[in-house]
Symmetry: C2
Subunit: 144 residues, 2 copies
DNA sequence: CACTTCAGTTGTACTATACAACCAAATGGG
DNA sequence: CCCATTTGGTTGTATAGTACAACTGAAGTG
């Protein structure tokens, strides 16, 4: 096998291994906020509110899935729905204060976990690794 | 925020985004073999057979989960159980010919997907990216 | 030989997810 | 202006993956 093919295989294998473990690991670290909930909240914070449909489109989830996730987050008091004056069908989703608080806390603890894990890496390697991940994800967002 | 912290945030965000999408993407590509089944089969091929308990330990899965996954793979005719002459409790799992065939086929198609996605990358970047992923996964396998 | 450990299965429950059917609001062409 | 279509969202139903706990049977150990 060529070097190139070996690298491709390694990348495939290691990304797969990571994907397999990530959800469970996130759940162990934060039983109160699944990986999906976390990303939805983070997106709401980022966008300063958006519609359920936007979340579904962005994360390639079915609208029913988003509907139920949002319902759960609302039940937990982390998200609130506001009417859109221009379109009565639309609910604009926003983080509540509590939602912001929980999200910040979970984000901080995740950040700490990453910091520990990557403590030995020098800045050059971190920068390159971050760059590669961005590049990888930006290439076929539609595929995986 | 320091550069270092920014890189850490990017890595966190991009790995999270990847993890969120990977399962669904794998399922779309191969409805007949989920990401989990695929990794279990690959492990069996790699190890030339092993016990259910080994799979559970290696992938941090509950033994009941593995038991059901294996049952499914056996039902599909991809895996067979052999008695361990030295220990009547143990079932040594092996790929069947059909299992090898299906695994090779799926692996090839996954490889093609990765090749397409990474077609523009030069070999140096591939090698570095592969190295970083290995290093990342090798640091806290127990965490995530 | 009795107690404990180990491999694996089964019962039960929960989460994430999809697809399809549905409802209500908005929009656009006759 | 009205009805057909589109759009945003919910609900019913089904499936997969997972965990935990209770259990069975075999192996090891005092």
């Amino acid at each position: 096998m060529s070097h190139r093919a070996e690298h491709l295989d390694t990348i495939q294998r290691e990304l797969t291994a990571f994907a397999r473990r990530a959800r469970a690991a996130a759940a162990r670290l934060h039983p109160e906020l699944s990986l999906v909930s976390y990303t939805l909240l983070a997106h709401l914070q980022d966008q300063r509110g958006c519609r359920a449909t936007d979340l579904a489109a962005h994360y390639l989830l079915d609208k029913s899935t988003v509907s139920r996730q949002v319902a759960g987050l609302e039940r937990l008091g982390l998200v609130e729905r506001r009417a859109d004056p221009d379109d009565q069908r639309v609910q604009v989703l926003h983080l509540t204060d509590r939602g912001t608080e929980v999200l910040d806390q979970v984000a901080a603890s995740r950040r700490t976990a990453f910091e520990n894990r990557l403590a030995e890496w020098d800045e050059t390697d971190l920068a390159r690794f971050a760059g590669y991940l961005l590049r990888y994800n930006a290439s076929g967002a539609e595929q995986d």
